[in-house]
């Protein structure tokens, strides 16, 4: 570990990405930025996985490519990462589309404000006293009466 070879450097990079992504998930208030932090986190995890299948003196796992009989790198982590990348982007696209709807209904992306509005709306719907404190918005259920300047969400049918 003292000798700083490039694999070690790359491992540090992967762990750095994971740490930065995790910090972003906790620190950020803007939902969109949290999604971007998730992208960074996933990139770090994928990098770490591929690094685990790497060996120094090996070639890409394709037959008839590079010197014959040479050791090849482990194909399984690569397959796993392929799968993980596609799953990750599917989830991100899903999150973006829900985010668009939330922004249209509430006009904000701030996670704390959304949480407060959520508690308030739920309390109204359930018929219990809305939680005090925070900025409980006037206007009641957003679905029926949106904030000024904002159209209520379309019903799609």
């Amino acid at each position: 570990m003292i000798h700083l070879d490039y694999v070690t450097i790359l491992y540090v990079g992967a762990i750095g990405l994971l740490a930065i992504g995790a910090a972003g998930l906790v620190i950020c208030n803007n939902f969109f930025r949290i999604l971007l932090a998730l992208v960074v986190l996933e990139a770090g995890a994928n990098l770490l996985l591929v690094l685990m299948g790497y060996r120094g003196d090996a070639k890409a796992p394709i037959l008839g490519f590079g010197p014959d009989g040479a050791q090849m790198v482990d194909p399984i982590p690569q397959t796993l990462v392929l799968t993980a990348i596609v799953i990750g982007v599917a989830v991100q696209a899903l999150a973006v589309s829900i985010l668009v709807r939330v922004f249209r209904s509430y006009g904000t992306l701030d996670i704390r404000e959304l949480k407060a509005r959520f508690e308030h709306d739920i309390a109204v719907e359930m018929g219990i006293e809305p939680p005090r404190g925070g900025e409980a918005p006037a206007g009641g259920r957003i679905q029926s009466s949106g904030p000024p300047n904002f159209r209520p969400p379309e019903s799609h049918s």
């Binding site: 994971l18 995790a22 998930l25 939902f31 949290i34 998730l38 986190l41 996933e42 995890a45 770490l48 996985l49 685990m52 482990d74 399984i76 982590p77 796993l80 799968t83 993980a84 799953i87 990750g88 599917a90 989830v91 899903l94 999150a95 829900i98 985010l99 709807r101 939330v102 209904s105 509430y106 959304l114 949480k115 509005r117 959520f118 709306d121 739920i122 719907e125 359930m126 018929g127 219990i128 006293e129 259920r141 957003i142 679905q143 969400p153 019903s155 049918s157």
Partner: protein, 495 residues
Amino acid sequence: MNGVVLPVVLPLLAAFLMQPLAHKSGVTARLLGPLVLAIGLAMLVQTWHLAQTDPFTVTFGGFAPPLGIVFYVDRLALIFAIAAQLFTLLLWGWSMDAQFDGEKKAREDALMLLLAASATGLALSGDLFNVYVFYELMAVSSFGLVVLKDTGPAQIATLRYLLISAFGSVIALLGIAFLYAQTGTLNLAQLGELAPKALHGPAGLAAFAFMLIGFGVKAELFPVNTWVPEVYAVAPARIAGLLAGLISKLAALVVLRLLVVVYQDTPAPQLLLVLGTLTVLVGDFSAWRSKDFPRMISYSSIAQLGLVFIGFSIPGPLGVLAGLSVALHHLLIKSGMFMLATRWSGSLDRLAGCAKSAPVATGLYLLFALSLVGVPPMPGFWAKLLIMTGLAQEGSVVYLVALGVVLLGSIVKVHYLFRFALKLYGRADLPPVRHSLMELGPAALIGIAIIAATIFTVPIGERLRAVAEQAADRDAYISTVFPDHKTAAVSEDRR
């Protein structure tokens, strides 16, 4: 025997074809889902006899286990696979609305089918990454089902749920990566074989902790369960029932498999015990404080999941039996409770006096509550008794603390469940709420099942004991997947 893949594959096929079919013929599309699930159910029930004595494996693509993916079919897996198909069918959205939207319905049906397929696959799979893929499929389709109601709060709850889930998936993937880096395999049986040498060190246990947090998101485990009350309060009640009843149990099943096959005789169960105990505490006290029916039962579901994990952390067949019986009991009760919540979605105060207007629903609630609390002849009592004897037998301090917490949780549970029951019998000052037949039907079926389980406690207990003994047998798992143990020799040479 290889037909066991069909209950996983056919719903996927039906889901892919659902939308084109809905354009051609709406009626066929609406009938397709239940039909496919019924076929899958029938096939799985038939398989039960095959797995009666010995578990067996199903390989894919003709590749022997460590190379290819493998399904491990024992009775534990079959119970949950059958439950997956049965409960999706039971809680199917039989839309009777006048303004019926065929396209939306087709999408919803497709998502339900994907959920059933992924749950079945998760129960049967014997390959860690395959488990991860099915877990993700389960997560994504559940997002869609939660946001089905199309209200602002539902969207916010889904978004928060999605973020926690995505974080959990990354953590679980890291755990899987660490396991792979230490053993070079993803097959659970081979992991079990290599575990005593490779995985029982600190790095191996860290991998377990990562996977526990990752899979714990769906299993409502303590630090990552903040989504539970939000989502269950806004999701359609039958979806909440499905998530709380079925999906959480499947995630717990993954943890159980890891614990039994890979992490036997390690400190891993203690970690599970601590988290499970905290989960019970958090769940029961939050339920006690909550003021509306859906959130009360969702917090109570967290507490029950904590009990399941406490059960699983007791080593040996007794622990598996205890956790399994709590899990199955809760699967029934909570699905029924959430079916009641379709109409009882308001605050506890608003439901006062429902005993007069809705006697059947109130009766069912009382039945469920009695069993949940653990009044002696009911099945809930036996499940809780098993956990307590198991904890008492272990005897070390951590287990005794957990025992105390379980007792404390029970007392709190009695208080909040019957406080609500008293309210139901109180004075009515609001117009009565009535359930429709479609909502009460499944709940009534579950009620009948509970009564039947009370009457036939002894034979059911015997069966479950056999299931638990089969499931807790690590060597049987390994020798079923690798009959000739050749791979063990190969891996010995390589090291």
